[in-house]
Symmetry: C2
């Protein structure tokens, strides 16, 4: 076994979910993560906890959608809910064989099924949970890499000293919370938002692996100015690139995209909330050196910021409501991040490095 | 997809477990049965039922045993139990990548874990459940076949008209239940047992797929005579072959084996019950033309009988108790099966073919 699988498993078990004696552990895996599940089983058993693994793939989901009528789509999975009610920890492994398996399922039916699965979602978010990736050919392909390159990419991002990372991230959170606003500057960018009454959260490897971001929800109507997102991202199967947004009183008043502008327009026009920002964040993981169209990694890239149009998180005291939450990322090597009168980041350096 | 996977799935869903609208369905699978699980998902969804799949392999089991201490081995999986309490149907797919993954785990630890898993076992046996096989290289290798040959072997045995098979099997059950005893004759064989007060069961594809046997539990102290089992079988990793047993008042008083006699001796000496028969049965599935050291198939081979030393089944009104249940099989092309004064089988023909 690649020793990095054992290191990855150790981080998930000891740092992310802090598994202890007697814990009932649920794992969500695919056939491609079998070897990683084996690494997890040994570590979980060593802690005195009991693992059970659910096998789930989009190909299985496709078969379900192909067979199910309306009533079936609306039927809640009582057995799945009962399982989740009785776990302490949930580890979700993303390891697809084919990221396009659901490409031709009507998105309305996917949303309909998600509504029936709402309690499942709530249940696992109420536990100690962590989402991570196990490298597969499908993900390597999406990232424009060979498998070996992609494995290196994943482990460079995840096999960090998370205790140390956590200290750095929490220091940044403390500094950001001394102020009531945030400002991003840079080429074609000067965006301001109030963060009064909001909470900054340090994403330090507890729920996402990799982690490496500090994020909040801006005050809904306070966002002013313009921003240019230079990192491409995937939405509705389309790569959107080179997005310009202009805000007045919290709302998008002008927008453009160098690629897939039509898809961007559709996102902005979903509902009232999709015209406003639900999240503003700073990515800090310098183990991630390039984007791969996988938001779990891309939004954590070091020396970036990101903003999301749409739904805000309750943990941030966020209030914006929307059916969407679409992250967009900007590199900051030529920019600044300013909170109140404090320079948090300037052209490649965080305040604690200056 | 091989259309035989869809046929196999249809039989499991429609005949074996009779899945209907609203059923909560649990599947136990391995990575190697992913494609078959996809076939099952579509059929299950078409019935209006909701499938959830557990991934379980002996390699995962091995990792758990490697990590677990005594306390952990004794800890019941509450989340697994909760899942099973909330299902209507359980479909167990045997599709190993390696049938020897647990070869070097102390069998005492396996038994200890099974004790902690007792409620899991009871729960799924209390539902509509079925055990089947999905062809893998490991199983083909065990059967001395290529993958293509093994696939043909499995589907020849399973893709039958089970309604018709059930009628034939139940007719045999009715005839056997008209009498109070059973006798097997043939080369080096003349074995008699009372079946008074016992129930014959037709295994017609509800719990095992393939099926094709009629079985009962003999009256504990009634078994008299001798028998020669000419089909090899696997026990404790050893192939036991050419077994002779002699019974007096229900107990083995003499035995020999052409291969692995030592292992046979150990089985007979496990406890009081392992010296007596817990099962006597007639195999009827002529789709199975050779033994493969896989009891799910071997005991169903057409024109055979089998007997098991050890634990009897409650469904048969069986009373013999033992920690073991070891099936042994005999071809009957030169033998007879007689119940009371009725010839049930004679040299290649069942009573309904004579």
């Amino acid at each position: 076994m690649d020793p990095r699988l054992e290191e990855h498993a150790k981080i998930l078990v000891e740092w992310s979910t802090e598994i202890k004696k007697g814990d009932m552990v649920g794992i969500r895996a695919s056939p491609e993560s079998h070897e990683f599940v084996i690494a997890l089983y040994k570590k979980i058993a060593e802690k005195g906890a009991i693992p059970i693994t659910l096998m789930n793939t989009d190909e299985m989901g496709k078969a379900f959608f192909d067979g199910a009528d309306e009533d079936t789509l609306n039927t809640a999975p009582k057995h799945f809910e009962a399982f989740l009610e009785n776990i302490d920890v949930f580890i979700a492994l993303r390891s697809p064989s084919n990221i396009k398996a659901l490409a031709n399922v009507d998105s309305k039916r996917v949303i309909q099924r998600n509504v029936a699965m709402k309690r499942v979602q709530e249940l696992y978010l109420s536990k100690r949970w962590c989402l991570t990736v196990h490298p597969t050919y499908a993900l390597a392909q999406q990232a424009d890499m060979s498998m070996e390159e992609y494995q290196n990419f994943v482990y460079d991002a995840t096999l960090l000293d998370w205790k140390e990372e956590s200290q750095i991230l929490n220091k940044m959170k403390e500094h950001l919370e001394r102020h009531n606003d945030i400002r991003y500057t840079g080429p074609e960018t000067d965006l301001y938002a109030s963060t009064e009454g909001r909470v900054w959260i340090a994403s330090d490897g507890k729920h996402n692996m990799p982690s490496g971001e500090v994020f909040t929800a801006p005050v809904d109507n306070s966002v002013e100015g313009k921003i240019y997102f230079d990192i491409p991202f995937l939405q509705q199967g389309k790569v959107i690139e080179g997005v310009h947004l202009t805000f007045e009183k919290g709302e998008v008043v002008d927008f453009s995209a160098e690629k897939a502008e039509k898809t961007l327009k559709e996102i902005i026009e979903v509902d009232e909330g999709s015209r406003r920002l639900g999240e503003m964040a700073i990515g800090t993981n310098r183990g991630i050196k390039k984007y791969t169209l996988n938001m779990l990694f891309d939004e954590k890239i070091g020396d970036t910021i990101h903003c999301a149009l749409g739904q805000a998180y309750k943990e941030n005291n966020g209030t914006n409501e929307s059916a969407v939450h679409v992250d967009m990322i900007k590199t900051m090597h030529e920019g600044e991040i300013i909170a109140g009168d404090e320079l948090i980041y300037c052209k490649g350096k965080y305040f604690y490095e200056m």
